[in-house]
Amino acid sequence: MSSIALSKNGGRVLRGFFALVVVFLYAPILILVIFSFNDSDFPSFPLSGFTLRWYRQFIENGDLRAALWTSAIIAAATSVGAVILGVLSSIALARRFFRGKPVVSALLLSPLVIPYLVFGIALLLLFHQIGISRGIPTVVIGHIVITLPYTILVLVPRLEQIEEALEEAAYDLGANRWVTFRLITFPLILPAVVSALLIAFTTSFDEYAVASFLVGTRSTFPIYLYSALRFPTQLPQVIAVAVVVLLVSLTVVVAAELGRRFVESRVGV
C-alpha cells in the first residue's frame, strides 16, 4: 500500500525499525526469564543447566512474601480510594461548570509532573509536623494523590463520550442523582473504572520513591527489591520473583486493555 504518507519502501524500513525496537524492549525481559531458570549463583554466560531452585527460594523467603503482601494491601487500598475520588472529580470536571475549573483541573493533574521524590519528602515533612507516625496508611495517602490524575485521565474522556441526554432522560423519569449514577452513568463508565483501578493498582504496587519515605520500618515489594539489589547473593531469587511479577502484570495489562476495547465496542456508546 503506497500513499502520500509513506512509500512502499519507507513502510518496509519503518516496519523493520518497529520490530527492532520491540526486540530492544522485550529482550531484557526475556533475558530475565532465561536466567531465572539458570543453575548458577551469577547471572552470566555460559548457561549452566535448568533449575527451579530460585523459584523455590523466593517462595520460601518470608521477608519477600511479607513485602509482596504489604504492597498488595497498599495497592488495593490505593486503587479503591483513587478510583472513588477519581470518579467524583471526573464527574465534576466533565459535567459541571464552576468557577475556577481550569485551576482545579490543573491542580488535580499536577501530581503528574511533580517529581515523586520531592512529593515523598514533602509528605514526610507534613506527617512529621502534624505528628502522624509513618506506616501503611501514610503510604496509601501518598499513593492516592499520585494515582488520582491517572484515574481522571482515563475517566474524563469516557464520561465525555457518553451522551448527557441519557442522564437527563433518567432525571425526567424521576430518578434522583444517585439512582441515575447507579443505573445509567456507572454501568456506562464501568470499563474505564476497571482500567483506572488497574492503573492505580500497578502504579502503587511498583512505586518506590514516595513509599520509601513514608512507610517507616516495614518493607514494600519495591523497597525490598531495591535493598536486595545491593546484595549479589539474593540476585537469582530476585530475578525469579521479577519474572513472575513482570509476566503477571504484562498479562493483566494486556487482558484489561483488550477487554476494555471489547466491552466498549459492544456497548457502542
Partner: protein, 272 residues
C-alpha cells in the same frame, strides 16, 4: 452534592498542604532564614549537579522522541490493520514494574553480567578486561532511562498523528508535493504539539530521577535527585539544605510546566 465538594477538595488540600509545608518546615524550627538558600546558591557542587541532570535528561528526552516519532508514524499512517495491537505491544512494557526493568539492565550490563560474560564466553574479550563502563556510569543511567521511557513517548505522538486530518495530506499530494515536502509542510507541524508534550513528559520526571542513577549510575551517574535523597537519608541528614534543593526543583518544574502548558491538554496523553 455538598459531599462531592468535600471529597473533591480533600485531595487538593493534601496537594496544597505539602507544598505549603515544605515552606513551614524550612523556616519553621529556627525562624525564617535564608541561610540554607545562600549555602546552596553559593555552592558549585549543587549547581554542577543540577546542570548535569538537566543535560542528561535533555539528551535522553530528545533521543527517545526522535526514536519514537517513526514508530508512532508507522502505527498511525502506514494503514496497518493491527494498529492497536502493535501499539499495545509497544506500550505494555511501560505499564510493568519500573524497578524490575532497571534490575534487568543491571543483570545485563554488569562486569560479570550478560553482555560481558557473553563476550568472554565467545572469546571476543578477555576475562580480565570486561567492558566496565557499561554499568555504573552516565551511559548506563541514560540507556536505562531511555529504555524505560521510550514506550511512553510514542503515545502522545501517536495520538497527534492519529488525529491528523488525512485529507490535508491528500490535498498536498494533489498539489504535487513530494512525500518529503508533504511531511515537512503538513505532517510535522501538525504533530508538533504531540511531540512537545511527549518531550515534556519525559524531560520533567527524569530531572528529578534518583532510583535509576542510584542503582546503575555509580558515581558517574549521580544526579540532582540523589543529592536530595542523601540530604534526607540516614548518613548526615540536612533537611534544610535538602528542602531548598527540593523546593528549587519544584520551582523549575513549575516554570517548565507553565512554559509548556499550552501543549499539555490531557487528551494528548490519555490512552484512547
Amino acid at each position: 452534592m455538598a459531599w462531592l465538594g468535600v471529597f473533591f477538595v480533600a485531595p487538593i488540600v493534601i496537594v496544597a498542604l505539602y507544598s505549603f509545608n515544605v515552606y513551614t518546615l524550612f523556616g519553621g524550627p529556627h525562624g525564617f532564614t535564608l541561610d540554607a538558600w545562600h549555602t546552596v546558591a553559593n555552592s558549585g557542587i549543587y549547581r554542577h549537579l543540577f546542570w548535569k541532570s538537566i543535560e542528561m535528561s535533555l539528551i535522553v528526552s530528545i533521543s527517545i522522541v526522535v526514536l519514537a516519532y517513526p514508530l508512532a508514524y508507522y502505527l498511525a499512517l502506514s494503514g496497518t490493520r493491527r494498529k492497536y495491537v502493535l501499539l499495545l505491544l509497544l506500550i505494555a512494557p511501560f505499564l510493568t514494574s519500573y524497578l524490575l526493568r532497571v534490575l534487568a539492565w543491571k543483570v545485563i550490563l554488569g562486569d560479570q553480567g550478560v553482555i560481558n560474560s557473553f563476550l568472554v564466553w565467545t572469546h571476543l574479550r578477555a576475562q580480565e578486561h570486561p567492558i566496565s563502563q557499561l554499568l555504573y556510569s552516565r551511559f548506563a543511567v541514560m540507556l536505562v532511562l531511555a529504555y524505560i521511557w521510550l514506550p511512553f513517548v510514542a503515545l502522545p505522538i501517536f495520538v497527534s498523528l492519529e488525529n491528523l486530518d488525512q485529507r490535508l495530506l491528500e490535498a498536498a499530494g494533489d498539489l504535487y508535493a513530494s512525500r518529503w515536502r508533504a511531511f515537512i509542510a503538513v505532517t510535522l507541524p501538525l504533530s508538533l504539539p504531540g511531540v512537545i508534550a511527549a518531550f515534556f513528559f519525559v524531560f520533567v520526571p527524569t530531572i528529578g530521577e534518583f532510583v535509576t542513577p542510584s542503582l546503575v549510575g555509580g558515581t558517574g551517574g549521580y544526579m540532582y535527585g540523589n543529592q536530595i535523597v542523601d540530604k534526607f537519608g540516614a548518613g548526615f541528614p540536612d533537611w534544610e539544605t535538602g528542602s531548598v534543593l527540593a523546593l528549587f526543583l519544584i520551582i523549575v518544574v513549575a516554570i517548565l510546566t507553565a512554559l509548556f502548558s499550552r501543549f499539555l491538554q490531557p487528551q494528548r496523553v490519555a490512552a484512547e
